[in-house]
């Protein structure tokens, strides 16, 4: 029972088969998370009554409870809750529940990233923009966001990587992603151990993480160049 190089390549291939689903969960959740993050950050910056307090509770809850508990609450709990009101969503795809959970979870973290990066841009920047006759939306687009973006970027990168790793939890509610593929691989390959499969899965995640890191680094570098140009 020797486990050769061709066997490794074989499992890696089967794991990679399910990569698109993992990436789809990552990208779709990230987009919604950013939207949620922007809305919550806006509510917290402007201190809108009631909504502000609700947002604070929501942030505390999502950041203090395990993601897996949130996933179970959304997947098992929400359909049960809605059934009380006569709404049946049990037939919804699992993918929807996964995206809802991951978006709400990552959105909470991103809202803090956005909020702190917005606040990190000095108030005098806005005043200067006003003094040259810009409106607030103009100032936001031309002055505040470009500067806040640079501050937020490393953190957004970190949360993207966290989210990628979090998608590995989706198999617990029956999504056949990289992690859910295990049973199929076991069925197809005689003599492949669970250990080898999970090592292969780990390597795939590792490589994607490194790729995301490289992309973020590349964006950061190109941003820095632009910034240096202006200040010079």
């Amino acid at each position: 029972m020797t486990f050769g190089l061709s066997d490794w390549i074989n499992i890696l291939g089967q794991v990679l088969d399910r990569l698109p689903l993992t990436l789809a969960m990552l990208v779709v959740s990230l987009i919604f998370a950013m939207l949620i993050g922007i809305v919550i950050a806006f509510i917290r910056i402007e201190k809108i009554p009631v909504l502000h307090q609700l947002a604070t509770v929501y942030l505390s809850f999502t950041r203090s409870t395990p993601l897996i508990v949130q996933l179970f609450l959304v997947y098992f709990g929400i359909p049960q809750l809605l059934l009380t009101f006569g709404i049946d969503i049990n037939h919804w795809s699992r993918f929807v529940f996964v995206v809802i959970t991951f978006s709400l979870h990552t959105g909470a973290y991103l809202s803090e990233v956005f909020r702190s990066s917005y606040l990190s841009v000095g108030k005098e920047q806005l005043e200067a923009a006003y003094s040259v006759g810009m409106t607030y939306p103009q100032a936001l687009r031309r002055i505040l966001i470009p500067q806040a973006f640079r501050v937020a970027l490393p953190n957004v990168g970190n949360h993207t990587i966290e989210l990628l790793k979090d998608t590995a939890l989706a198999f617990t509610i029956g999504i056949i992603d990289i992690m859910g593929q295990v049973k199929l691989i076991l069925g197809n390959n005689y003599g492949v151990g669970m250990f080898q499969i999970y090592v292969a899965i780990a390597v795939v995640y590792w490589i994607i993480c490194i790729l995301i890191e490289l992309v973020i680094l590349w964006i950061e570098r190109s941003q820095r160049k632009k910034h240096a140009g202006i200040s010079n």
Binding site: S60, S64, V69, T84, K165, Y198, W206
Partner: protein
């Protein structure tokens, strides 16, 4: 089976609370062992010890770049295999059953935690001014004494907020241990929920317990931090 049964939820609280010791055991062991291993690895990186330095970088990158749940499974299936192969090579008679799920969870969480804490400790030590160590040497301390008496206490204060965050993260991460059969807060909740199809109530109770745990430890950690800070303030004021 619709609606929320609050009565049922309340009845489950004592049962689910029985999982708290396991949750805390995994968290605290991972924190302590992780901190010890992390500190050793941090020194490998700071002093750029050949080979070990590169291995540490690889180790940190791997454990931070792969999902914890995958690592748990790698250890779960890998550790018994490791013991069997040790038996084969060295003719040992170790029983692979010593790797109970709890032992595996403790090992996996400790190693995962070490990878994160390596970076925390490294940045904290490097944040202490180099002159401090030089001054320690000037009064006749060895490098080890200087590290132990002068640098590490200061680095500890710098590292406290990060250590606190990591501790809270570990509480949440420990919830994954149910996947290898640990009966922690989530493990017990799952059994109860699957038994009576009362998912919403049970997971809500579990979530509230985790929430409360996080809040309690946040308060404790804030106190510790404050105490460390006032000490720091006083020292610099008298100087």
């Amino acid at each position: 089976m619709a609606g929320i049964d609050l009565q049922f939820a309340l009845e489950q609280v004592p049962k689910i609370l029985q999982g708290v010791p396991y949750t805390l055991l995994v968290t605290i062991v991972a924190m302590i062992v992780g901190l010890v291993i992390g500190t050793i690895l941090a020194f490998f990186r700071i002093y750029r010890v050949p080979v070990l330095h590169q291995l540490t970088v690889l180790f940190v990158s791997f454990f931070r770049g792969t999902p914890l749940i995958v690592q748990l499974f790698v250890f779960f299936y890998g550790l018994p295999m490791l013991i069997l192969s040790l038996n084969d090579t060295f003719q040992w008679g170790l029983n692979p059953d010593i790797m109970s799920p709890l032992v595996i969870a403790l090992i996996a969480y400790s190693i995962n935690s070490a990878s994160y804490l390596t970076e925390v400790v490294r940045s904290a030590i490097q944040s202490v001014d180099k002159g401090q160590l030089e001054a320690a040497k000037a009064v006749g301390m060895t490098t080890f004494q200087g590290m132990y008496r002068i640098i590490l206490p200061q680095a500890f204060v710098t590292a406290l907020p990060n250590l606190g965050n990591h501790f809270i993260m570990l509480i949440k991460a420990s919830a994954l241990a149910f996947t290898i059969g640990i009966m922690d807060v989530l493990g017990i909740s799952r059994v109860i929920a699957n038994d009576g199809y009362r998912f919403l109530e049970t997971y809500l109770v579990a979530a509230l317990i985790y929430w409360l745990l996080s809040i309690i430890f946040e308060i404790i950690l804030a106190r510790i931090e404050k105490r460390a800070r006032t000490f720091e303030g006083r020292a610099s004021n008298t100087a």
